[in-house]
Symmetry: C2
Subunit: 334 residues, 2 copies
C-alpha cells in the first residue's frame, strides 16, 4: 500500500494525497475526509505520520537492479550494501527484470517501504534514451524520494546520476582498431539500453571520423548465451570481421570461441575487446582485453553523495561522468 494506491482508492490525484498528508490548506474538508478515510481503512502509514510516531527514518535504502545474477550488478549491489551498512543503513533489494511494467511495479513497491532513497543499478531504467515518456515514471517517483542512478542518465528533479563515459571508451577502442589496420569491426551488443546506445554512438563516431562506412551488417545484437551467440556468428557465413567491440565480456568470450572454432589467430586475425572487466575476462583463453567501466567508483560516488544528502542535506550533483579504462590483455595487440 502506498501513496499511489491511496490516490486510486480515493479517486484523487497523488498530489492531493500528498497535500492531505502534509496538512495543506489547499484541500477541501470533504476531500480530506475521503482520503483520510481510505488511509484508515487500509491501515496506511505515510512517512509523515511515521515521523509523528517517532519512527522517522527507517534508515533503509531501496536498491533496484534488473538482475542480481548479472556479475556487474552483483558487484555493484555488494559494494552499495557494504558501504551503506557502514553508515547504518539497511538495504531492501528488488530485481525487476527489464520490462517497463515490472520496473514501474517494483519502484512503487520499494517506495511503499518508507525508504530514505532509491538506488537504480543499470542503464535499463533510462529506457532507450530517446523517448522521455519511457522515463516519466522516474520523475514521478523522484517526487517521493531522492533517486540515485548508477550507469544511466535521466534528467529530472531529485534524480542524481553517476555513469561511465562509455561513448569515449568505445570511440577509443574503435579508433585503435583502425590505427592497427582493422577493416571490418563488429559491434556486438545485447539489448538496447542507455549504456548500449552510448557505446554504439562512440563506435559509429570513430568510424565516421576516420572515413569508414557505418555498415549495418556489422552491428550484431544477441541476448543469448555464450555458446548460442558463438553459433549465431558461425551460422552467419557472409559476416566477415577482423575486430570485435562487444558491449559486455560474455559476448566478447563468444567471439573468442568463434575464433577458436574457425581457427582464427587472436589477435592477429581477429581482435576482441569486451566491456566490464568482469571475472569472466580472466577466465577465457587468451585472456580478454576489456573496458573497465569503473562500477566501483560509480558506486562510491553514489554512496558519498547519498550520505551527504541524508546526513548533511548537501544537494547532490545531477550528473557525474567517470572515464573508463582500457585493460589490455591478450586479445588485442594494442
Amino acid at each position: 500500500m502506498n501513496i499511489y494506491d491511496i490516490a486510486k482508492l480515493a479517486g484523487v490525484s497523488i498530489a492531493t494525497v500528498s497535500r492531505v498528508v502534509n496538512d495543506s490548506a489547499k484541500v477541501s474538508g470533504k476531500t480530506r475526509a475521503k482520503v483520510l478515510g481510505v488511509m484508515e481503512e487500509v491501515g496506511y502509514i505515510p512517512n509523515i505520520f511515521a515521523r509523528g510516531l517517532g519512527l522517522n527514518s527507517m534508515r533503509t535504502i531501496g536498491i533496484l537492479c534488473p538482475d542480481i545474477s548479472d556479475i556487474y550488478m552483483a558487484n555493484a549491489v555488494s559494494y552499495l550494501e557494504k558501504n551503506l551498512n557502514k553508515h547504518g543503513y539497511d538495504c531492501i533489494l528488488g530485481c525487476s527484470g527489464h520490462r517497463q511494467e515490472e520496473k514501474e511495479k517494483y519502484i512503487k513497491l520499494l517506495l511503499s517501504k518508507r525508504i530514505d532513497t532509491l538506488v537504480l543499478v543499470g542503464s535499463t531504467y533510462a529506457g532507450k534514451g530517446d523517448n522521455p515518456a519511457e522515463t516519466e515514471y522516474l520523475r514521478l517517483a523522484a517526487k517521493e524520494t531522492p533517486i540515485f542512478m548508477i550507469n544511466a542518465y535521466v534528467p529530472g528533479e531529485n534524480i542524481y546520476c553517476a555513469y561511465a563515459d562509455d561513448f569515449q571508451a568505445a570511440y577509443e577502442v574503435t579508433a585503435a582498431y583502425i590505427r592497427r589496420g582493422k577493416k571490418r569491426i563488429l559491434f556486438l551488443s545485447n539489448a538496447r539500453s542507455f549504456s548500449g546506445d552510448q557505446k554504439r554512438a562512440g563506435y559509429e563516431k570513430a568510424l565516421i571520423d576516420n572515413a569508414y562506412p557505418v555498415d549495418g551488417a556489422l552491428i550484431f545484437y544477441s541476448e543469448h548465451s555464450i555458446h548460442d551467440t558463438r553459433d549465431m556468428l558461425l551460422l552467419n557465413k557472409k559476416l566477415e570481421f577482423d575486430g570485435v567491440l562487444a558491449t559486455e565480456d560474455s559476448l566478447a568470450i563468444a567471439a573468442v570461441k568463434y575464433a577458436k572454432t574457425k581457427n582464427l589467430a587472436i589477435p592477429a586475425e581477429l581482435s576482441v575487446v569486451g566491456f566490464n572487466n568482469s571475472r569472466l575476462s580472466i577466465c577465457c583463453e587468451p585472456e580478454l582485453t576489456t573496458i573497465d567501466n569503473k562500477g566501483e567508483i560509480l558506486c562510491a560516488v553514489t554512496v558519498e553523495q547519498m550520505i551527504s544528502l541524508l546526513e548533511e542535506k548537501v544537494q547532490p550533483k545531477e550528473k557525474i561522468s567517470v572515464p573508463c579504462e582500457i585493460i589490455k590483455r591478450n586479445t588485442t595487440d594494442f
Copy 2:
C-alpha cells in the same frame, strides 16, 4: 533495536523479555515494569505489539549471504528474490562476510526488521561443522524467527536446511579419477566451511576405499585470486599431481592455467574438475568439467517450504539433501 538490546538495557535475559512481550504470568510485576519501561524509552515495537497495531506481518524476508559478488550466491539471491516476490514478500539483503562477529551482528540487525523468516545462503553460517558453540547464535536467533539455511546443515529447533550432497559428488569424482589411473589427486579448496569439509570428507573416503594414501601435501588451500592461486601452485615445485578436485570453479580455472603454463595436456596429463557449474566454467579453455550442486533446486525447495509454513502453517522438514550432478566437459576424459 531488538529483543537483544532490550534484554541488555533492562538487565534481564532474552527469555524474560519474551515472556513480558507474550504477557506470561511467570514474570514478576517489578521485572515486567522494568522491561516495559525500557521498551517505551527506546521506542521498541515487538512483533506482537505490531500485530496489535494491525501491522502484523511486514511480508518481508531477510536474506543474508557472506558476499553477493560471489556468482553462486548472486544466483541464489536472484532466485529467492524473484520467487518470494511472486508470493508477495519483499527481501531485505545483508552481506555479512565470513567473520563470526559480523555474521552475528547482521543476524541481529535483520531480526530487528520485523522479518517473517530469515534465509542464510552459504555454508559459512554453519561454521566448520565440528564445534556446536560456533552455531549457537543460530539456535538463539531461531527462537525469534524461522531460519532457512541453503547449502548448510545446523541442527536446532526452527532451523530448516537444504543442501547438496557434496560428500557423494566429491567421492564419485575421486573414484572416477582412480579408475582412470590417476595417481596423485590434488584437493584444491578455499576456506574451511561446512560444505568444504563435506567435499574433503568425500575425497578422503574415496581414497581410503581404494587403498590410496591420504597425503596432506595434496590438500591445498587458497583463498586468493585465479592468477595468484596459479602462481602459488607453480611456485610449489615439489608438488606433483595428475588430477585436481577443486571446491569451486575459479580454483579449477587456476589449475587449468597452471597446466597451460607448464604445457601439460588437459585432460591426459592433468585432469581438472570444478564445483558450482558457474558461468566461469564455460568461459575457460578447455571448458570445465564441474559438479553442479543444484543451487536453484535448493532455493526452490526453500521457497516452497517457507511459503507452506507462512501461509498454511505446514511444519518444514529439518533437512533436505539434494544430489549433485557431474557436468562433463573437456577437462576430464570421463
